[in-house]
Amino acid sequence: MTAAVAAPVHARARSSLARRPLALALVGLAALALALVAGVAAGSVAIPPGETIAVLAHRLFGLDLGIPWTSAEDTIVWDLRFPRVLTAMTVGAGLAVAGATFQGVLRNPLADPYVLGTASGAALGAAVAVVLHVPALILDFGLLHALAFAGALGAVWLVYRLSRVGGHGQMTSLLLTGYAVGSLLAAGLSMAMFMSGAQLRVIFSYLLGGFEAASWVRFATALPLIAIASGLIAIRARSLNGFLLGEEAASHLGIDVRRERAILMGLASLATAASVAVSGLIGFVGLVAPHVVRLAVGPNARLVVPLAALFGATLMVAADLAARLLGEIPVGVVTAVIGAPFFLALLRRTRAGYEL
């Protein structure tokens, strides 16, 4: 039995374990850079790519590329569009990492960053803020962002606490609790929308998500939360890999399942909450990005997490660009138009190959 397989096995095992992630990362970085420049250059006032790069080079590195630009162009590039594309990039990356984490820990390919009630919690928080109508802004943040963030984390906390009451069958219990709590929060959202009167449009645009209100201060607040949560998830890739064969097998492979599950889901929820607080609810990026990456490099979380962040960032910047070029339609509509067909294709695959 042992003599049957000879030396070539080793070489094949090695090349197959690698699956060229480095080349993919370079392509991803190039695509992200391209999307960022295009995202800054394009819009209702088109600014040539040369001048866009010249403004950014001057502002970021103090370089003079010898291309002149106007002060209006400077304002548009630096104060309006650059924070906007950077926010889109960060939110895209955060949602993709959160999606990869939830899919991995829950072992459910259809899980997305909102699976534990983040979305409904954030939406209700935002809607309540609109109904209360407190127009105060602290550091560019209004009550809407604060309550959306608190609602997102509060919903996850509630779901987690309630699901532990039952005891056994924890994963199923968690998902069903998430569904039940989500439904309840959705009822609250409907009530708030009903009561909001003329403010309905504000709630509605939050539900669809977008980056038109992005600013440097908001970006600077969301970035560390998302970056730290994503980074801490990335260095726990071993735990995420352990969940691949289920919780019991993960225990046998040396993973402290309870602790790691709580940490990973807490971090993913934090990244999600920070994302929804600055940009509203944007669907499908967190679902789609990890899957596309897994198709290319396999399920190893050491590759999936950083590459999904890269792909999610690129996808979100591109979707925001498309949304602007189509006349400032909500970016959630664009990601849904891209994501829903993908989701359906995934469902077909689920019947063929995915095991839930």
């Binding site: 096995v9 289920g246 402290d256 399920p299």
Partner: protein
């Protein structure tokens, strides 16, 4: 000599009902032991206690002299590898990616597999003879092939104790014998302590020098197959006519 596994006065209860009662068992390093018994007798519970997955109501479990309650999961995983019962895979995963999971307790926590880990993966693939399955999606394999891949994963884990729960349940006769021969080889050549729950008394008697019979949560017999699996005991514990179970003793 310090026992590889020492169980003393172990009682494990589920919702107040004891699944294992007052069990004593010492397994020396390098032993090959089969746990047999009817369904619900407590075999799997005993394995779960040995792997530190259940909290005993009373008594202790020690791995190589250390109380298992003092070991974290990583320390347990380096001492004891468990072949899991066929789990489902949520994502497309190649055979070598599954086998590489066996290196989780050893790999670099951040960077992952080191050259030594890759060598261990390749060696385990060779040893279990699943080289012809490389590159295939583990979810598309037959149940028997998947069982072998999981065995290769546990071999890659490179622990001194190997624990298996019904390792032959999905295998045809030829593969059953192959798995048994592999366990004998791992045990005799590498001195791996092998603890396997088996339903097939014939396989247990033929391939295992020590058989422990579990009946209603208690150890009913412990010894060489000829002593542990007497006709009388087979009738008592399994409730079948021993003539139906022909053991090549």
């Amino acid at each position: 000599m310090t026992a590889a596994v020492r169980i003393e006065r172990l009682t494990v209860a589920y919702r107040g009902r004891p699944a294992i009662s007052d069990a004593d068992l010492a397994i020396e390093p390098g032993q090959r032991l089969a746990l047999v018994g009817p369904n619900g007798a407590g075999k799997s519970t005993l394995l779960r206690a040995i792997a530190g997955l259940v909290e005993p109501a009373a008594g202790t479990v020690e791995l190589a002299g250390s109380p298992i309650s003092h070991l974290d999961r990583l320390a347990i995983a380096r001492r004891l590898a468990v072949v899991p019962q066929l789990p489902s895979l949520p994502f497309s995963t190649t055979v070598e990616e599954v086998v590489a999971l066996g290196r989780l307790p050893h790999e670099h926590p951040i960077r992952g597999l080191r050259p030594a880990d890759r060598a261990a993966v390749a060696a385990a693939i060779d040893r279990v003879g699943v080289g012809h399955l490389l590159g295939r999606d583990a979810r598309e394999l037959s149940l028997g092939e998947r069982q072998l891949v999981l065995l290769a994963m546990a071999v890659a884990q490179d622990a001194p104790i190997l624990v298996l729960d019904e390792p032959t349940v999905h295998l045809d006769l030829r593969h059953q014998v192959e798995v048994m021969e592999l366990l004998v080889d791992l045990n005799e050549r590498d001195d791996t302590t092998v603890i396997a729950v088996l339903h097939d008394l014939g396989l247990a008697a033929h391939f295992f020098p020590r058989v422990v019979v579990i009946d209603r949560g208690r150890i009913a017999a412990d010894g060489p197959p000829a002593e542990a699996l007497t006709g009388e005991r087979i009738r008592d514990v399994f409730g079948v006519d021993p003539a139906l179970v022909r053991l090549a003793l």
